[in-house]
């Protein structure tokens, strides 16, 4: 099994080295920085709208080691959110009535407090609970076999990655055997009612390109996925979110190692779509790391770019008013959110 950048001692495991790459060519001479691109649009400094999504990273531990993972997650990562922080999150959600909670990781289900936490979220009446499930976790160990029933009981919205509707590309990106296990997990989710037309048990899939290229039309990809998954495996799902790979962490390592970095950045810049800026995730999201620190988005979390207002960087100092007027921290990786039809955790935005 491949290791995380951190466990393998890769120099990009050090965040400052990732930032160095993003600050270097082609942005020294040929291409405009993201700040330079936003200025003429009157979008700099980038400001958020109302906070609607509280995204909580329950830990970097994962049963998979996907090649493109922007979290650098894996079985060798042991950063995990404690009960104290989870309780604080519940308090924040209860008081501030933020409608959506988005649970992510690693594999969020691997946090031993995962089920307890979802139950508590249900009790305080959070409108929508999203779980970013990698699917294979449902088949990884007996103790997870009943997850589909658990999700159903709490009406959890399941969002799962499936980079392709065939084994080859999926396994190349996510590891040998991942496709077969993912198919089994999807069938089990379907069996309890997830993803079926008209069902309010929502099951959405996330597609991301299997290399140094951008995704094209989301609706066209969704139609292909639906047709093929139904034909080959009798699988159903609701929406497909086509997301762009963001040039950080393991995907950045891949780009640099395969000599695709400069060309990929050029593609992102060329595909810059001003209309996508209004829909970027950081406009309505706060991302919380396992240690309780807050970021404009999951990607900034991985680059250790905490929210700019120092007086409200940790959940213990959560201040909604201040967060809603903060300045969003940006860098060249942000081009990944504004290319083409845009890209967010909910797929395209423009």
């Amino acid at each position: 099994m491949i290791k995380s950048l951190k466990a393998s001692g890769n120099k990009l495991a050090m965040i400052k080295n990732q930032l160095k790459v993003l600050a270097g060519e082609p942005f020294q001479t040929e291409l405009p920085t993201f700040v330079e691109k936003l200025k003429p649009l009157g979008q700099f400094p980038l400001k958020p709208n109302k906070l609607e999504i509280f995204q909580i990273n329950l830990g970097y531990m994962c049963n998979q080691v996907c090649k493109h993972c922007h979290v650098d997650a894996g079985p060798d990562r042991n950063e995990i959110m404690t009960k104290q922080h989870l309780e604080r999150c519940i308090e924040i959600l209860r008081v501030n009535k933020i409608p959506t909670v988005d649970l992510t990781g690693g594999a969020p289900e691997m946090n031993p407090l995962f089920r307890w936490f979802v139950e508590e979220l249900t009790k305080i009446g959070v409108e929508e609970i999203i779980v970013r499930s990698n699917l294979t976790i449902i088949r990884a160990n007996k103790k997870y076999y009943d997850l589909p029933e658990f999700f159903k009981k709490h009406n959890v919205h399941v969002v799962s990655s499936l980079p392709y509707y065939q084994a080859g590309k999926t396994d190349a990106q996510r590891g040998d055997g991942v496709f077969a296990k993912s198919i089994k997990a999807l069938q089990e989710l379907n069996a309890v009612g997830y993803g079926i037309e008209g069902s309010n048990l929502k099951l959405d899939l996330v597609y991301n390109p299997n290399g140094a290229y951008l995704p094209s039309d989301q609706a066209e990809l969704e139609a292909e996925f639906k047709k093929n998954l139904k034909k080959d495996f009798d699988i159903y799902f609701h929406n497909l979110f086509a997301i762009t790979n963001i040039p950080i962490s393991r995907f950045l390592d891949y780009l640099v190692a395969s000599d695709n970095y400069e060309e990929y950045m050029e593609k992102l810049v060329m595909a810059f779509n001003p209309a996508a800026v209004e829909g970027v995730m950081c406009k309505n999201t706060i991302s919380v790391d396992w240690d309780g620190y807050m970021y404009d988005c999951d990607f900034n979390q991985m680059l250790d770019m905490k929210v700019a207002d120092k007086s409200t960087q940790h959940i213990d100092d959560f201040d909604l008013e201040k967060l809603e007027v903060r300045t969003i921290s940006i860098n060249q990786h942000c081009y990944g959110c504004t290319a083409g039809a845009g890209s967010s955790c909910q797929g395209t935005v423009a």
Binding site: Q166, Y207, L221
Partner: protein, 111 residues
Amino acid sequence: MEKSYYNPKDLKKFGDIAEFEPKLAEKFFDYYGEVFKEGALTAREKSLIALAVAHTEQCPYCIDAYTEDALTRGVSEAQMMEAVHVGAAIKSGATLVHGVQMMNKVKKQSM
């Protein structure tokens, strides 16, 4: 002058052909854009036709552009290669069917 006939960077300069003759270039690019829009054929089907023709024309720029286009559309490797085979079959078929012309002439002029 370049040291080789083809430079990958030239693909991005395709639009520059307007520099020497803007009116015809504009008509061409309008037409090109219109052709590839979703119509009776899907944009995906058109992209695969373009990939096959790019190979029969052996145009490195078009192969580059339409391989990337197929990748972004989630076209599988097998589908891409089948499209190339369709192009190759038509190319070789077109060559071979002219063999009949050769045979006709041979037969007419032989005792």
